[in-house]
């Protein structure tokens, strides 16, 4: 082969390989930068008072349009302590009603601040499943994690904006208490010992949130009158927003539909 041509092929191969490698490195740098942005949050200012005589309620139901996918069966045979049947909870639909949608006031509260509830929210591990599958919590509020199984779990949140941690919890051990400092919607939590165990924590700055139940229903109470953006977030189907205006003492119904593929 001609020396010049072969040299060009060699240089071309090296350049192409290096280019692809640079792509990998750049992508990683971006991710590292995101992790580095995880700084400590400043302490929250005092709560803005709300007149309880004027508060409104937003409620409604969330539907799934079309034929819902059949939930996948989960094989838990790798741990004899994981008893009973288990199914994937990534899309839970019953008669068109969509469960596990996190609904919250995304916008419209301005600079209002809210007290962080003293009571913890509970995340339970039972039957090698997380209960609930989607959990709402205010930033700074305590999450109490219990293990009711006769096996060791490890709780491993994989956040984008909060601190990552990974702790194991043997059977009958005391509850683990944690909190998340920054707002983050649908923060994934998993157990590396039981790879099917996944759930989501949504951390918000205000107390106006709810998770749809098995009948697809939700209710947000105590909302001051005003114009708001209500966000409906599902782990697989994505986010949909609705603008809503509520008057004093009003109860407004805001329904939402999701389609397969997150449309």
């Amino acid at each position: 082969m001609n020396t010049k041509i072969s040299s060009r092929i060699l240089v071309g191969t090296l350049a192409l390989s290096s280019l692809l490698l640079t792509t990998a490195c750049n992508k990683n740098t971006e991710q590292s930068t995101n992790k580095m942005a995880d700084k400590e949050a400043a302490p929250a200012p005092a709560a803005t008072p709300i007149d309880p005589a004027t508060v409104a309620t937003v409620n409604g139901s969330v539907k799934f349009d079309g034929t819902a996918p059949k939930p996948s069966k989960i094989d838990m045979s790798q741990d004899p302590a994981c008893k009973g049947s288990n199914e994937a909870e990534n899309i839970v639909v019953s008669g068109g009603d969509l469960a596990n949608v996190f609904v919250y006031v995304k916008d419209g509260l301005g600079n209002r601040t809210f007290d962080v509830p003293k009571d913890p929210v509970v995340l339970d591990q039972s039957g090698c499943k997380y209960h609930p599958h989607v959990l709402g919590v205010m930033a700074g509020q305590t999450v109490q994690i219990k293990n009711d199984d006769q096996t060791t779990h490890n709780i491993h949140p994989t956040p984008k904006d909060n601190r990552e941690w990974n702790e194991s919890q043997p059977p009958s051990s005391p509850a683990i208490e944690k909190n998340f400092a920054r707002e983050e919607i649908m923060l994934p939590v998993k157990c590396n010992q039981h790879p099917w165990m996944k759930m989501y924590v949504s951390v918000v700055k205000n107390p106006f949130y709810a998770v749809t139940d098995k009948s697809g229903k939700y209710e947000i109470k105590g909302l001051p009158p005003g114009d708001y953006t209500i966000a409906f977030v599902h782990e697989k189907l994505g986010e949909q927003d609705q603008k809503v205006t509520v008057a004093a003492k009003e109860t407004k119904t805001v329904d939402q539909n999701f389609k397969a593929g997150g449309e």
């Binding site: 040299s7 191969t13 192409l16 792509t23 990998a24 790798q78 039981h194």
Partner: protein, 296 residues
């Protein structure tokens, strides 16, 4: 040879850990649930991660033994240094494994852990080759390489593109980047390795030490491409929404990693044998100015 085989087992065990998403099932390091060797509740992801740690620990001990034995017995100085280098590499590898646990599997660290593992495997294979009876007793059959690019250049280029492919695959596997750079680069790897193998087989088929690794390299390349395609189907195309690691995906991806390690090691063996048996022609080594002087 035993250390090389043990390394292959550790690489396969490591691949099982990643494919089963079990890397953080034991949250502490260097201890495992607070103990160095106590067997934990052997279920779920713990089976893979704890076994990987124990086999890797055994490999560190074996490598230390090999390094000490080589320092005491071996007369070739460069080989003594290679054995010491192998021990340093396996220690670095253990530290990278610890960092990947303690820092929750950052893609760059996990990829470095995967890459150094295969580097150590290549070193172990090279030591096995250098200490083998054939290498010591064999009289090299030398044929000068007149073609351009030389086979030596091609084998080094093959090793380079395989390393790039290893890093791209590692970054994808550890969620540091998309799958497409790894798939696109597979085309480059296939072309370069085929070129190298065809050159070695067609021109130097009379040198067994070159012909054999070239044939094995070509066979492994074809196997690896098939496994890569299967891994893509089971993980990216079909397994995207899987709620837990599914057996076909685990088998395909672990086999892809294992055969990848064999392919890299075989390419390194080929490069060593080419360096020994098919050196570049003499003119290539003499700078032009010196050639002019000698001609005058």
């Amino acid at each position: 040879m035993f250390v090389a085989c043990a390394t292959f087992v550790v690489i396969t065990a490591g691949a099982l850990v990643t494919s089963n998403d079990a890397g953080l099932s034991v949250p502490d390091w260097p201890t495992s649930f607070g103990y160095l060797v106590k067997v934990p509740h052997f279920v779920g992801g713990v089976r893979y991660e704890w076994s990987h740690r124990m086999v890797a620990g055994t490999l560190v001990s074996l490598t230390l033994a090999i390094a000490i034995w080589t320092l005491l017995v071996e007369k070739r100085r460069w080989l003594r240094w290679l054995a010491v280098g192998a021990f340093c590499t396996v220690i670095a590898q253990a530290i990278l494994g610890g960092l990947t646990v303690l820092f929750f599997q950052p893609p760059a660290v996990s990829t470095a852990h995967a890459t150094v593992a295969q580097t150590f495997f290549c070193i172990a294979v090279a030591i096995a080759l250098f200490t083998g009876r054939k290498w010591v007793e064999e009289q090299p059959r030398i044929e000068f390489d007149q073609r351009r690019p030389s086979l030596t250049t091609l084998t080094w280029l093959s090793i380079f593109v395989l390393y790039v492919q290893l890093i791209l695959g590692g970054m994808f596997r550890h969620h540091g980047m998309s799958w497409w750079p790894h798939v696109v680069h597979a085309v480059i790897v296939s072309l370069v390795l085929s070129w190298t193998a065809v050159r070695a087989i067609s021109v130097y088929s009379n040198i067994e030490a070159v012909r054999r690794p070239a044939i094995v390299m070509l066979a492994l390349l074809i196997t690896q491409l098939c496994l890569g395609f299967t891994a893509f189907l089971t993980r990216v195309a079909w397994g995207r929404s899987a709620v837990q690691p599914e057996l076909p995906m685990v088998v395909a991806t672990v086999a892809h990693v294992a055969v990848g390690a064999l392919l890299l090691a075989t390419t390194v063996v080929l490069a060593i044998q080419v360096w020994r048996h098919v050196p570049a022609a003499f003119e290539e080594r003499v700078p032009q100015s010196q050639q002019d002087v000698s001609a005058a």
